[in-house]
């Protein structure tokens, strides 16, 4: 069948729904989207080029500025890569503190992703509720690490500051509040008939397509693929981690996976607080030379660092693979293809939680 393209609709780079510049070119026939292409390159800064030849003490701060939303996990994965190269084991209490801060970071990232989706489908009430819950999580991050974003909390061998008993009590108290509130908001999202019209059956990414596009993170888990690198991390294994998987494959499933992971994070933080032993939070150690590849689970999926360091701990070669590039590709080539309305393009794109800053670096 011959495909006739009526209009090629460009969306972006500056768009009211998007926080970051990216351009989607949609070939449309009437209201239907025939195909979509993503144009990247508005935010390329060349971080990997700056990182080369610098000592790990400097690269550590550059690594967390790859992405401001998930800065903690970039810090964590880079430090764990350096630890794997040098054979450093983190102090036992510090390993649990890392999990607590990483899960708080994941919670604020998922809350802002769900906020963006609700804001895009014009459900502003639920969006504002979720954004307000995020402020409670940001308060906890600030209380533990000292800053809201770009915290530089983890160092080789441990973490910077210990968790005081009054901070632990504040975390417990806020988690109770968050659990009660998010249960209510998840109920609103689950039962809302108008939300279901915009979300259920829209932007379908089948399991086969997700495997073909190498989708990662919540996007893959919403398509029925049980993949989560946290199940291989030693500290998460101690806490008994099981990934959240749904099989609806649409926008609704992707948002519900993130809601599910919010509750999972609350459970993991509570368990970590209960299991955390007393002791020092800085184990010490010297960064040595070597080359390795290390992956961790970011809020958006698999994050990989390939680092080659010389014997003084200077980074000679570095390559970063961030999760968003696979999800943006899966979104453009599989979710948007054959979408019934051009109005669903922005909502579908936001539901895959794209982070352009980490895609282009």
């Amino acid at each position: 069948m011959k495909k006739t393209v009526d209009v090629a609709v460009p969306i972006g780079p500056v768009h009211p729904c998007w926080k970051e510049p990216i351009r989607i070119k949609c070939a449309t026939k009437g209201e239907q989207v025939l195909s979509a292409e993503v144009e990247l390159g508005y935010m390329k800064k060349g971080i990997e080029r700056i990182m080369r030849g610098r000592p790990w003490q400097e690269v550590m701060f550059l690594a967390e500025r790859v992405c401001g939303i998930c800065s903690v996990v970039h810090n964590m994965v880079f430090i764990e890569t350096m630890e794997a190269i040098s054979g450093i084991e983190p102090a036992e209490r510090a390993a649990f503190l890392r999990v607590i801060v990483n899960e708080l970071d994941r919670m604020q990232s998922h809350l802002i992703a769900n906020f963006s989706y609700c804001y895009t489908i014009e459900h502003e009430t639920l969006a504002m509720y979720l954004l307000n819950e995020r402020e409670h999580v940001m308060d906890l991050i600030e209380r533990i690490t000292g800053n809201r974003v770009n915290t530089a909390y983890m160092i080789p061998g441990g973490v910077r500051y210990d968790l005081r008993p009054e901070d632990a009590a504040a975390v417990q108290e806020t988690l109770d509040l968050l659990e009660a509130n998010i249960t209510r908001y998840m109920g609103i999202f689950e039962d809302g008939p108008m939300i279901a019209l915009r979300s259920r059956g829209v932007g379908v990414l089948t399991k086969e397509d997700a495997l073909r596009a190498h989708a990662v993170g919540p996007t893959a888990r919403a398509s029925g693929i049980s993949t989560d690198l946290r199940s291989q991390h030693p500290t998460y294994r101690k806490l008994g981690f099981e990934p959240v998987v749904r099989t609806e494959c649409d926008n609704y499933a992707r948002i519900m996976v993130r809601f599910g992971e919010l509750f999972q994070s609350i459970g993991l933080i509570r368990k970590a607080l209960a299991m955390m032993p007393e002791g020092p939070v800085r184990g010490g150690g010297i960064c040595k030379g070597g080359e390795t590849r290390y992956s961790g689970e970011a809020p958006r999926g698999e994050l990989t660092y390939v680092v080659k360091a010389d014997r003084y701990g200077r980074v000679e070669e570095i390559a970063i693979q961030t999760p968003s590039i696979m999800n943006i590709d899966a979104c453009a080539h599989y979710m948007l293809k054959g979408a019934l309305s051009i109005a669903d393009v922005t909502a579908t794109f936001i539901s895959s939680d794209p982070c352009v800053a980490c895609t282009e670096r």
């Binding site: 500056v14 009211p16 926080k19 508005y42 935010m43 954004l131 307000n132 770009n150």
Partner: protein
């Protein structure tokens, strides 16, 4: 002597500030702090500030990020689309100095004041939402008050 019409305009403008933001290559940290201003805790709209992200109806442009080469012409064209009176505020260290990205070998071209006139800067990596709101609130009345009379 300020006329009646000018007084009315000043009064209306002081409680109706429309904001657009443009990300010219930041790490996202400042973007989410601008978004956090929308949350009911900080509540931008109680001061009459509306974030539309549409340059055609904006009064204030928040510039975020360290001006990558792709944005050199686009930032200027966005600035030209904003109707007078207008003002640009640089948010974060990136549009001021380039922050950590301004090193040998990177693809950035800071500061933002090379490309468009910047009236005020909010330093920080990233600045707190309260600081962003304070910058908008303290700058906007100075620029917009008696605009028509100043122009003559």
């Amino acid at each position: 002597m300020t006329g009646m019409l000018q007084k009315l305009k000043n009064n209306v403008r002081s409680r109706s500030i429309h904001v657009a933001y443009v990300d010219t290559g930041s790490c996202n940290g400042c973007d989410i702090e601008v978004l956090a201003c929308l949350s009911p805790r900080y509540d931008l709209e109680q001061y009459g500030i509306y974030v539309h992200n549409n340059p055609r109806e904006a009064d204030v442009l928040l510039v975020i990020g360290c001006c990558t080469p792709q944005w050199e012409d686009k930032l200027k064209s966005i600035w030209e689309k904003i109707p007078e009176p207008k003002v640009a505020i640089a948010i974060g260290n990136c549009p001021i100095s380039g922050c950590v990205f301004n090193r040998e070998g990177s693809y950035v071209n800071p500061p933002a004041s090379k490309h468009i006139p910047i009236a005020a800067s909010v330093p920080g990596c990233p600045p707190r939402p309260t600081e962003i709101i304070r910058a908008i609130l303290s700058l906007a009345p100075i620029v917009f008050e008696d605009y028509e009379e100043k122009k003559q």
